[in-house]
Amino acid sequence: MIPFFSTYFIFSFIPLVNTFYNSLFENYRSGLTQIGPNFVGLQNYISIFQSDLLKYLGNTMILWIIGFIPQIIISLILAVWFADFRLRLKGSSFFKTIIYMPNVIMAASFAMLFFALFSDDGPMNNLLINLGILNSPFRFLATVWGTRGLIGLMNFMMWFGNTTILLMAAILGVDSSLFEAASIDGAKSLQIFTKITMPTIKPIFIYVLITSLIGGLQMFDVPQVLTNAKGSPDRTSTTLIMFLNNHLYSKNYGMAGALSVILFVITAALSLVVFFVLTGAGKRRGGK
């Protein structure tokens, strides 16, 4: 107990306070001269909003949405199938194992792998040309939507297994007599889904949505490695954390601090929503 809290206090709480504190100071290097730290109040917040913050927030959101929409749709379908007592799918644990696997893979190496496979004369282009789908190599990483699409695809692959398992547990937690009664009354699969499944798993669904959003805001490894920290083409795939990383790297502590505080406020607000959804859902257990 004491080591837990002292560690937390030293390595998380003090840094958090220090981050807030730093966000109020002008403190950066310009060439070889160190400027600051001078107290500037909220000036850093103003200048960070005037820089490309909103653009990067937009990028982050776009990248998250590209990955999340297919992820949630496919996960819902799979979860319903896996949990359907009439369908009795064989080998479901095999499939679950496979679809969850990309989640344990190192994101940096996964991005590197995609970079190698989808490079201009890499194996994917090669394959697509051999199959007659393309005539000339498609430069995935030179186009805005090619790059964003690849990042979205990677995020989708890394997270849809996880989401499927969570949603399936939620569906299995629903009293199965509800489903039986509905199907005896002649309800169609779609009706069962919209009238019974969705309303009962709503808290878990919101939990998945918001934790995924928080995860999306933290997106870093994949675009960083895939685009070599440049967010290329033309910074259209630079995420907020990549922006933070740039400021940390160039030791612009004031701006990094302001950005951290903004991120902190957003995630804290989202976390509170999760918290109230989960506790407000009563003591009913969603999981096992």
């Binding site: 837990f4 958090l16 981050t19 940096a108 051999n130 398992i165 547990a169 933290q218 490894d221 976390s271």
Partner: protein, 279 residues
Amino acid sequence: MGKMMNIKKAVAYVFLSLLAFLCLFFFYCLIINATRSHPEISKGFSFIPGKSFGSNLYNVLHNKNLPVIYGIVNSLLIAGSSAALAVYVSALTAYAIHAYEFKLRNVVYLFIVLIMMIPNQVTTLGFLRLINRMGLMDSFVPLILPSMAAPVVFYFMVSYFESNLPLEIIESARIDGSHEFYTFNTIVIPIVKPALAVQGIFAFVASWNNYFVPSLVLKSNAKKTLPILIAQLRSADFLKFDMGQVYMLITIAIVPVAIIYLCLSKFIIGGVTAGSVKG
């Protein structure tokens, strides 16, 4: 009805197989290319493995510009020790919350659950300045010690204790005169071993894959971990590289974790739900 079900079943199987194919395909490409030499790879893709597995492995391990062997050792060291610490200390904390009645108990519990969601990126700035002042820049300590306070492990363990560790056992141990730490180490730990193992693997994988903080903390070549080396490979002039070595390095970073995962997938998948969904 029966016929409809069969069609639906067939659709489900086809769809699942496609997804499974998607997940496995890229890893298949990776492993194939890791066994082929650079000229073979640049000639074009093939589905048949080559014969250069051994030489690729040898070359990448002896690459003068990339300290790969150090990278593997460093990654193992950091991930292993932070997983062990995270699991032990957080489980101990969870045990304290579970087994003792004290005033602030609920406050402490709520506090930990709330901080669970805060991403560590937002405290990184202060963290870096702190370890800089402590003189711990470019050392493993700031990557290992903080993992002691793992709110996620804590949260999971509290739920696990609630359903699997009756207080009577602890009380009878106390009556028999067992010390508190002794009770925890010899009675509690064996009971919750499976849960600890799962959380340990999660902690290990998270640390093994971590890139953001290590890349800002570790500076000298001999201390870099695998994700940093991979990013470095990306920023180097790509075309000059032996592609066989590139694929081999990715394989080294991915495959050990994938094998551990496949062996223990049953427990891990159970752990995913038990850890995160509970009202």
